[in-house]
Structure formats: C-alpha cells, structure tokens
C-alpha cells in the first residue's frame, strides 16, 4: 500500500536477481561497481525506498531505542532525550519515547511493550516509587541491553549514568559553609532512589566535615513536588531552632519554598539561603535567582548512548558512570 516499489521491481527491470539488487543497494563490493551504480540509478528513478520493516525483520534488529521517563515535558528529561536523540540519530537509530507518569506499573508495561516491539535497547529513568524490579529480570532474560540514567538503583546490574550527587551535595554545603551558613536543612526525595539517597549522604557527611549544626527536624523526605516545598517552609517558620539555609534536592521544591518564605517576609538569602538541584530554566529567573546544581542533562543523554554502544561492542562489565556536575552560583545564597 504505502511502498509500491520493491527490490524485485528493480531486479525485473534490470534482468538481474533481487539479491544482487539488495547487495548493490547496500553498497557491497561483492557487486560490480557498474552494476551497483546502475541499480542505484534505477532505484532512484523508480522512486524505490527500502522497507525497513522487512529489513529489520530479516536482520532481527529494529534500530530503535526505547526511552522511558517519568514525564516527557520535564525540562531535565526532555533535555536528556534531546541528548540521546542527537547521538542516536547520527548512528541511524530512532527513539521511541514513553512516559510512565512516575508509576511503577506503567514502567513495567512500557518495558514489556518495548520488548515486544523488538527495540535494540531500553534507556530508562525509573518511576520514583519503583520497588518491584521483576520487569527488569524479564528484560535481562531476553538479553536486551538496559541503560539506566538519573533515577537508578544500585542493586540493578545495568550500565548507568548519573550525576555524582554525593559530591555535588557535599560541595554545595561547602559553599554554604564558606559563606558563613552554619545550620543547613535538607529537603530530599525518597531514599530508595539513588540520586536522592546520595544527595542526602553528601549532605550528612558535609555536616560532619564542615562542623555544621545538625537537627533531626531539618530533614524532610518527600516526593519532591511543589507542595512539599511549601510544607517544609511552613514547618521551618515555626521552629525554635531555625536553619539559615536549605539545600533542596530539586529546583521546584526550592522555588516553592522560596516563595512561601518570602510570602511570610522571610528574606532570601538574608534570613535563609536556598540552593536547588537541576538548573531548571526558571531557576535563573526567580528573585533572587536560584543557586543550583547543573545536572548536565544533554551530556547524560549522550553518555547513555555511548554506554549502549560499548555494550554492543563487547558485553563487558557493567559500567556505572558518574558525571561531575557544576554549581551554578547565583544570588540565593
């Protein structure tokens, strides 16, 4: 229907075999140069276009990579996707993009769907709540490469790319300490998610390393949504021992906290300093602009694709990459 002209049509027209046409179109040197060119020319004339469905079926590959993220329209994720796309398209790969809405169930369904569609690999940033990892076992059994990024879990034996969150958290605290802040609070995500765990650990170690004050109430574990920032800001205001800085595990929470504090006439950074994570575009436009950790989204995407290629070459050991992040200093601290 869609694709009328096949290699057989070309073959018939030139009185040669379709297999020769196939080889010619693949530019195989097992076909005489002259024939090759003739084939290409008539292919062009006839408006031939290869049916990749058939080709892929034969080759048992789809040249397609499945990508699963919680939300496509989160800036970080769309930028990672953009990075993957850049690298992948250069190598002739296509991307199938899926969003899980941060639901574990959806993660599993999507993985199954992608597997059934014979994707060559799955790149996934897991749903926040994921605890069950049965679906990964399936993928593993079927021997399809899985690359984790950002939301990873250390107990899964797959190549992965993440920011060095521990280091980043440590350094942000160091920055705060150097600026004279002594009582740093932390809004963090669920601790079964590596990135949040590592940010928390970096925070904890920094407190020790830089001799900062510590208080149990200064830490909240949450889903890192806007309302969580509001909630924590409200909590802080009624504390006897109030922190003088908050390290937030993402920008959304930092900004919602900032606005809540400001609405109650608490000045940032004078009364309380704030640091976020992610370098969302909007973080540059708050007042004051938010100091934040850039997560190198584009780079993560590119590296994820590199890992995939390495995996293709030789099924070596599982490589877990940590990308060094950088602090974007602005005026919220």
């Amino acid at each position: 229907m869609i694709n009328k002209i096949t290699i057989h049509d070309i073959a018939r027209k030139l009185n040669i075999d379709s297999s020769t046409v196939s080889r010619a179109l693949a530019n195989s040197d097992r076909v005489k140069l002259k024939t090759r060119e003739l084939v290409k020319k008539t292919a062009d004339e006839l408006g031939y276009r290869r049916n990749h469905l058939a080709s892929n079926l034969r080759k048992q590959r789809s040249y397609t990579i499945g990508v699963i993220v919680p939300y496509i329209n989160r800036h970080f994720f769309s930028t990672v996707i953009s990075g993957i796309e850049e690298s992948a398209s250069k190598q002739g790969y296509k991307l199938i993009i899926c969003q899980s809405g941060d639901q574990e169930q959806k993660d599993a369904e999507l993985m199954e769907m992608l597997i059934n569609n014979q994707v060559d690999a799955i790149f996934i940033s897991m749903a926040m709540t994921t605890t069950n990892t049965e679906h990964f076992k399936l993928a593993q059994k079927i021997d399809i490469p899985i690359i984790l990024f950002d939301r990873i879990r250390d107990d899964l034996p797959f190549p992965s790319v993440v920011i060095d969150d521990y280091q980043a958290a440590l350094e942000t605290c160091e920055l705060l300490a150097k600026k004279g802040y002594q009582s740093i609070a932390h809004i963090g995500g669920r601790q079964n998610v590596s990135i949040y765990k590592n940010r928390y650990l970096g925070y904890l170690d920094a407190i020790e390393k830089f001799n900062l004050n510590f208080c149990d109430d200064w830490h909240m574990e949450c889903n890192m949504e806007s309302k969580d920032g509001v909630e924590f800001a409200n909590k802080i205001m009624h504390m006897k021992k109030r922190p003088d800085a908050i390290l937030c595990a993402n920008d959304i929470v930092a900004i919602s906290a900032m606005r809540t504090l400001q609405a109650h006439s608490i000045e940032v950074p004078k009364d309380i300093a704030l640091i976020g994570f992610s370098n969302e575009p909007l973080s540059a436009y708050t007042s004051p602009p938010l100091t934040t950790v850039d997560q190198k989204a584009l780079e993560i995407g590119q590296l994820a694709f590199n890992l995939f290629q390495k995996h293709q070459d030789k099924v070596g050991q599982v490589e877990r990459m940590k990308v060094k992040s950088s602090i974007i200093q602005r005026s919220s601290c």
Copy 2:
C-alpha cells in the same frame, strides 16, 4: 535472538497449526473458545511474545507515529509531545520523536526516514525557515497522513491544529489598550510561518480597531531567539518615538527584552509593558512575572491525535483546527 518463542513453537506443542495459534491469539471467534484459551495459556507458560516486526510487516502498518519538532526540549514542544503520547499510547500507538534543529533540510530527511520506517502518520511542527515543500508532496503521493501543528503553512493541504493566534494577539492588544497603553511595538517571527503571521495580523488590526499609535520601526521580524529580544530592546531605547508596550511573539524574546530594558533602568511595566506568548514555566518567575498567552500545548497534542483518528475513519475534508488560547495575566503590564 531476542525473541525465541514463536507461534510455531506453540503450535507444535499443542499439535495444531500455527495459523490457528495466530487466530487464537488475535481472539478470533473462528477458533473454538476452548482452543483459544488453551493457546493463550500455553503462550503464557512458554513466555511467548508476539514479534511486532513480523506482525507489522504482514499488516503493512507499524502502529507508530512519527513526530518532528524543532527542539525536543523546548517546553511547548515537549508538552505537545506529552499530549500526543497520552492519547496515542491509549490506542496502542508508539511515538518516534525527532528533532529538526529548526533546519529545513533536516525536516525533509526526517520525513523520508519516517516514511521508510512505515510510520502510520507524521505529526510535524515545521522548521522555521522551511520554504521548499517538496518533501510534503512525497508524503502525499505515498498517501501517509500528515498532521501539522503549531508551525503550519496554510498552503499545505493537511489537517492542522494551531492556537488562534490572530485572536490572541488582538485580545492582548485590547488588554493593553484598556490599561492605557497607546503605543505598542511587536517582535514577531518569520512571516512565512503562519503563527507569526497571524500574531502580526492580529496586532495590526488591533492598532486600527483600538485607535493605537503606529510606527514602522516598532515592528521587528526575526528568528525569535534570545538575542533578538536584546537587539530590539536596545533599538527601542534610542528611539525618539518610544513605544510604551511590546507584544512579543514568544516568551523568550519578551524576557530577554525585559532584562535588557531593566539593565538600562527602564522599568517594567511602568515605563514599558511587556506581553509574551507561550506561557513558558519561567515566565511566572521573572520579576515582574510576565503576562503571556497560554498555548494549550497539551490540548494541541491531544487534538492532533484526534485529527489523525478522524482521518483514519474517513478520508474526509482537511480539517484545520484553531484552539482558543487564554491570556495569563501577571504583572508585566
């Protein structure tokens, strides 16, 4: 390799023909219910999963929609994609996402690639510079549904979804006029792109309709990048007849203009008011927060998919949808 078990394995095990298995798995009532269930059960046990490559080849369909946007990580586009994905995945469609980097050449290549991959439809927001539309003719000849969104061209005979930009521009100017602004400038995009053309036309008609001042220098046609806002703001500052408001055809330009003006001690909105287009997340966080036109990105994505489905049902007339946008009033005017 990836998929060991086929319908033939099931057939062999049950001593029936593979065609029966095929029908059973498709839940055809031409197979006895008992057999059907038996087949499904053993399929499950054996860990059978359908090879969609083979299935699609046979059916001449891929249940895949190709989506081309200039940049995946622009909030508007990633949200449209998100909207498409929501609707599409419910109907069993997958999305192949491509970015053109706003290059005409890339648009053409990507369309060809998608066609070769037998996608069931192509959703595209064209590159800004596109003037040549040969590649659309190819798609048309091959009879693959094309849905345009956002960046469309009226001379192309395809279903499309856009914001009613003319109306939106008119209404923003009305709002400005009501607030007492009399001299409105306009930073617009290339006039061969419908959305920009319509915004400009709405602007022009508003000037007439609301008896506003007009000056040739108050309009700039550009690529709508950050630097363009800077450039225009600089130009304005040296004008004898300086406008008291700027309607910008996107938020990026509005914000860069805002910052440039402020850097030169021109206050917003006191000296010059600003309105943007797109309702980018960051527009809520500038100071002052930017009044802007919400473009209903999610809705556009969903409607695009609806158009595709209508097209499937009956190849009726070409439907061009206009979505009513809404002005998000904030304090930049």
